[in-house]
Subunit: 148 residues, 2 copies
DNA sequence: ACTAATCCTATTATTTTTATAGGAAATAGT
DNA sequence: ACTATTTCCTATAAAAATAATAGGATTAGT
């Protein structure tokens, strides 16, 4: 039960994009990759997925780059993770009843289903703007700590 | 973010063991495997893990089989899943700070940490006896439905 | 001794993850 | 038109994790 690099890198990249693209100007993937310490080539794939999911908008050519498709407070963590990691169904039989014969009687399916819902609700509680704000507060906290 | 077959089969097997071994008599792995529709050879591995984790007790030889190491209401889902799937840390840096350089400043780590805790708490809320009871209720419900 | 159960180690096939590589397509500036 | 710089698309591949299978060793009741 781990988040893959796609989800981890992708989320960090989206926060980066929300922070650095706030003014409405497109952000180069190369810059995000550099700041986040991730291979640009790998990030391309991730942004391809995010693009198809309608979460980012790309401008090609020189002076191109990426923009958020919606406002940071309208993009929930759930959407991002769902796009990159697939739906939060912890077992296949929750989203696809044909995945198991015992669907009707199996109690564990119910438990996994509830937990999946809980995870979704949790992720729905955070938007990109939430995270950007938290990130800012954390950085400031660190600075204060450093000066003491 | 999926539960692997080890976790899925293992949990179902533990519920099975709790239900059929309630009287204190050991249960054959072959019987559990048959009831759960899982390869006996594969279940052996899973029970090896559960054994080392101190969740089940094995009796070898003829008339052998498996017993729960503790009472069904003392075994939480969290213990079972932790034994079979590893700790509920969704990213490595939560349990191992050396896994990433950005640990101090990264806000996503905090989010994953909180979510991991939530999942743990959820799983801690269910014990084997809870699930056996729920299973029983569900079966009864189905029977009633069937008779209508 | 025989039988039936768990235990242990090795092997293997498949799938998923984690990338890398190379070029195509688009666009801004010259 | 040309060039530089960006995203886009497809293919490939190495590594790791998953999902088993196989064969025999060990244990214990009859």
């Amino acid at each position: 039960m781990k988040i893959s690099t796609k989800g981890r890198y992708g989320l960090r990249a989206m926060i980066d994009l929300a922070a650095y693209g706030a003014a409405g100007n497109p952000v180069f993937l190369s810059d995000i990759a550099k700041r986040q310490g991730v291979s640009e080539k790998y990030l391309e794939h991730i942004f391809g997925t995010l693009n198809k999911a309608g979460l980012v908008k790309a401008l090609r050519g020189r002076k191109g780059g990426y923009l958020l498709q919606k406002q940071p407070d309208e993009i929930s963590l759930k959407e991002i993770i769902a796009a990159l990691e697939g739906p939060c169904s912890l077992v296949d039989c929750v989203s696809d009843v044909k995945a198991c014969q015992k669907v009707e009687t199996c109690i564990t399916r119910d438990v996994w289903k509830i937990l999946g819902k809980k995870i979704e609700e949790f992720l729905n509680g955070y938007t990109l703007s939430t995270l950007v704000r938290m990130q800012g507060e954390k950085a400031r906290q660190d600075t204060i700590m450093y000066h003491i």
